[in-house]
Symmetry: C7
Subunit: 275 residues, 7 copies
């Protein structure tokens, strides 16, 4: 299909009209418009195909594939346009960059990081490292995957900004959406608090939260004395939550524990000391 | 067009006059002046074309294209001038750098980062990573995109300075102008504050701000107890705002919450403690 | 076997049908489906073989091998599919990348990090650096090894997220599952505490914990005064535990020591000072 | 011109005298003196030409061009001297470095960073990233550009020291002299201060400063509550100033606001607390 | 010997049976089993040889050599197995990677870090940088050397975990087991302490510890006032100890000095201040 | 001259005596002694020439040239010695490193950083980045330039140690000896101080110091309120001093301002607060 | 000599016995023993020669040369042994690594850092950057140079551990043993102290120390007010000491100044404040 399209384009634009400068410019502009139309049609076809009920896929994979194929269609057509464009302009550049070795060197240098981006992108998809909609951390940036392209991945932070990372620059991927997440609640009590009582209160609060909140799907646990620092004794409790719902659970637990401690008279490290 | 221009220049300057040293110098200077004029004409044509009402484009894309085409016209003419200049001077350099391999190596080394800059620049445009006027963060520098060139991107910080970054040095792009931004307001209250009351006051203040300010376009939320540190209990609220208007909203919320807390007698962590 | 499979595929798809564009597309799609089926069959065979009672292996090695062979089967079939795909499409790409040297350069550049990943992966397995289920620290990320592939290692943190690290990016491996772990308990007492008494109390608490907890498998030791800082005197005790159970033991020790110190009137550094 | 000069030099020094060692040394020394004289004449000519009233240029561009052409003249003559010197000495070095490949490699390695420096320098000039006299920040060093050479840029810090940076080592350029600068004044007040009153006082002070100081060229603004920390409430005001005059304006504003707050009884965060 | 083994294997597996796919698979599996047996025999022989009383070596060198030869035997047999395996499979790979240059490139890229690891490993052994059992610090990781292989070094931390470092990644080695170690005891006293008395008490305590503990093998010294900070005056004493026993000596000294200072009424910086 | 010397050496040592091993060893040793004598004579000649009253140079340039020519003489003779040495030994090395390509690669790799060092050194001298005796900062090390060699620069810190930096490792040079230095005196006063009075006192003190000290050569200035922090209000004054004398001036100013503030009753931030 | 030794070895071991595998093994082991004996003899000869009274050298240079020649003898013999070893084993490796280009690549890659180490080591010696016994700082590690080898430098820290640094990894060298060291004593006094009196007391103490201690060889100086921070006024004094004796002098000065200040009633910043 690609071949046919390109041949037609070449026959059309390079045969007669291309002999004059004006003809070439018209050709370039014309083909530019044709390319844009082709891109739109291609992209729409991809969307329609993938979102038709005939294709059985879960939502996450459908999003990933749509964003990828969009990309493939776009870049393929850009590439063809670029080749036609080069041929239409190609009356002087070649004589400048005559040496094939030099041209090869130049292309190689330029293409190097591009190839690395695309290859890493393919591996991300084949190995299913993350899909559109996953909550991930890539190179110190955390957010929801917006789209996975052949060359770049876009992530949307919870505060709204879009981060664009070339795939080849990705060093480590942390995917938060694969397993249940663990809510970890650390509470610092004063050194004169009764630890056994505090842990008992914590456990009962955690159980209440677990029975009440739908986000908690696993067991809750009061792990015990996490640290004894110079100013406080830190107690830790955990609860298994649905992926990425641990932040809300942690906030709820903190509120409830604070209130329960106040009721039970267990002094928080931040509570007013009597001097 | 480029071809014609260059041929004419070459015929004019290299045929007769170029045989004497003086003639060459005149040629170089003359062609330098011609180049400057050509650049002005080219740049004006680009501006007129893109800003004519016939071209239907949104403002952002128009700015980006204008700044880019400016660049393309400039560099193409610089390049032609450089070639003519080399040919006019070219009576001794060649014998020095006789070995083609060495010359290729030298050119390749020099051109390497240049090509990388241009390629990255093209991808920024094709992938629409950011446009002129977007508020972005590139390599730890934050500001409004001033212009996108083939080789460098210029960013204007809110305090006025211009940052110039070669495109090939861009590692990660954060674009704040694509989605609504989230205003995040953290307020630390004293450990003896009534958290339920504090959260209720916060929520009512946030609602007031949302109904009052046009910058708030989405729902407001009081998330809850973000952290319990040794000196305070941190409460967090959020509000969805129009892109890049969150800073003003956050400032307004802080002012209102402070005043509402003072009225309601909820002690801030920074409030005077009675000892 | 691979040879046979590929020959058959090639005979089938490239002979007749491949002469038309439509035929090629059908061939690509058809072979894509065949590849998926082949992968499923291959993966299942691997699982059945390795998990059959006839194969005598400890659980850890069985998990590692299963995850590895899965990978080998998958990538081999992907590779064959890719070759067939290239041959089916291969009517224009070749003329573009005509120069073999350039193609070699491009392939070499792309394949470089891939080969490094696979080689490092093989060494991890041959040298038994870690297996599936080990608790490891790789490049500042700590967790349980989820799977070891030819190209990437997946680690599951204790809070649930999955970290994906290309094998070639692994710099140093710390394996916590090979030896017994040492629980280290540092407790800071006030400067006016009786150190001999405090160390005696600590020792008796540590012995109680050791006799009580099954996780403590080696001797307990009170090492002595670890540091004298401006605000406290730090005492240190250790206990040898079963691998990765030291955290629970440390928590238990901290709780018991705190309670024993309170009973014995030994002031902790965090205890309320009388002014 | 260069050619003529070099040919004459070569004829003179290499023909007869160069046959003896003494003659060569005399030749080297003599040509060394000639080179120095030529440099002086060249540099003076450049200065006279560029500073003649006939050349219409603004001061900044004139400084930049003078410093650059100085450089070009110097290095060209150094280079010619070096070639003559090599030919005069060249009776043994060549036999040592016989292999042309090795020599090419060595030259390439040595010339690599030199070429990168010069190319980056040219782009700095072509793209007008900064000129002589601009206040810039390059690689964590801030100051006024003293000179832009082909190879290095010299910057003078406000405390007087000269920083010398090879152009090829320049990563990011921040130019403070292109736009108006924004004076940003942050003042921390105590938690018990009346914020509305404080902001009103600030605004009136800022207006006074703006009407009084010639350095303020744009509107002043009291942005509001920038942050609520554990010890203070930070208020922020801004004023648009002429480039690089914001530091003086900020100092003036701080003094005036401090005095106005003292008069109005608004407590600064640093004010003595009554206990 | 290696040659004989491999020839036999090749004759056996490649002659007749290898003509069929099934025969090849049997050959691969069979040779895999043979390789495992050969490794076991080789490793046992190495152990028996090196640990026989006939070989006169100190314990440290014996451990190092055993761990090394183990490695050499293993990798040599793995390598032979890999070659046989390639020959048995080698009916399609070759046609894919036809270009010898490309294959060389790929092998070179892959082998690069492997060769660096082995070379560095050899230098570690030849230069006796560390042996099995030494307490070392390599790249920010401290512990006892567990084994030195051709490719990796394994270190066991005092808390039990195993660190695996490729030899080629080793930057700097710090060996604590070569010389006596110096116990350094810093004690901070209050500003109103009598320094001469404090130093005298310290000296007498250090002498007692030295005469009492077998770990102290060199002279003890009270160096004097190490620092005067805003909160304390730091005194320093040292004692030469047997390698790696300084930690215990330091703890003992701290305990004794604390007790002696309490007896003598010299106030520690951490002691309760009377206000 | 070099040629003659080397030819004589070669004739002498390689003709007859070199045929036996003993003769070669004698030759190597003998030539070693000759080289040392030649170096001494060469170095002395350089010193005498450059320090003779006939040569008109300022002291700084004389020091730089002496240290450089020393170096050139030394390395040239080392190099000749090395070549002779190689020829005398050269009966086996060549057969080992038979392949010229490999030898070239090895030499190139080894010579790479050496060439970079020498080239950077030449540019430091040509561009007069610093001379012997200048006070500079190179790569985070500050001190007086002790000597500039072809390969390394030596710097003497004010506390006496010598820092040796290969020229090729120099990233940025800060030269403090080119311009007058600016003494910057920051003094923090308490929030309740009268700022106008404090600034007036500061100004009068600065004027006194300027009229009294010969090191102050430019105007003194009280810039104003540099910062308002939570604990103090910082005032800044400056004075232009002779290069590198600003430290003494700053110390003097601090002493005088402290005394003047005490006399005038202006409270320093560090002054005792009455509670 | 080397040639003779190797020829003999080759004649002996490769002629007859080497035809059988057993003979080869015997040859390898036998030559291994011979090599060890040769190393011992060579090393002893070097020591005897360099330490004989006939050789006139200062102690430092003698130590450096002994440690270097030891190294040269050792590595030369290792290298010869390695070559013989290769020839004895060399019946299969060659056929594997048939391509000379690949072998060259592999050797070059492996040898690269080795050559860099040796070249840097030679420059350290030629340029006399440091010698055995010097107190130096190399790459953040400080200590006394223990030995300088062709490939690595060993440093002994003052606490006893040995640091081993490959010469090629050395970035910057700081040598403390070349010049006198400067003892720098900073003392912080309270804001209400009489600075003139404090400086006078300091000066008299410094003079006493200088007249009393043999380590002080240059003038003492009280520089003045180094800094005025929020909590103290820092005074600085210096004394020129013999190399590396400044630490003892500093400690003595601190002790004496503390005592003198206590006698004179000058309050240290760390002294108890009366509230």
């Amino acid at each position: 299909m690609i071949h046919t399209l390109e041949s037609a384009a070449r026959d059309l634009f390079l045969s007669g009209a291309a002999r004059t400068v004006a003809g070439r410019i018209i050709g370039i502009v014309g083909f530019f418009i044709l390319t844009r139309i082709a891109i739109r049609i291609g992209v729409r076809t991809v969307h329609r195909l993938l979102n038709s009920p005939a294709v059985k896929m879960d939502e996450r994979r459908r999003g990933t594939l749509t964003s990828l194929l969009d990309n493939v269609v776009r870049y393929t057509l850009y590439f063809i346009y670029f080749l036609i464009f080069l041929e239409l302009c190609n009356f002087h550049v070649q004589t400048l960059l005559a040496g094939a070795g030099l041209a090869g060197l130049v292309v190689g240098l330029g293409a190097q990081s591009l190839i690395k981006d695309v290859l890493t992108g393919l591996f991300i998809l084949f190995e299913d490292q993350y899909g559109v909609g996953d909550y991930v951390k890539i190179n110190n940036f955390t957010g929801t995957v917006d789209s996975i392209g052949l060359r770049v991945t876009r992530i949307r932070a919870w505060t709204g900004e879009i981060e664009i990372i070339p795939n080849g620059k990705i060093q480590q991927v942390t995917n938060y959406s694969r397993n249940n997440s663990l809510a970890v609640v650390d509470v610092g009590v004063r050194s004169d608090a009764d630890l056994q009582q505090a842990m008992a209160v914590m456990e009962s609060v955690m159980r209440d939260v677990a029975s009440e909140s739908e986000d908690v799907v696993g067991p809750v646990q009061v792990l015990g004395v996490q640290a004894i620092t110079q100013t406080e004794v830190t107690l830790r409790a955990t609860a298994e939550c649905r992926p990425m719902n641990q932040f809300g659970v942690e906030r709820l637990c903190r509120l409830r524990i604070k209130e329960a401690f106040d009721r039970a008279g267990i002094p928080l490290a931040s509570s007013q000391r009597e001097i």
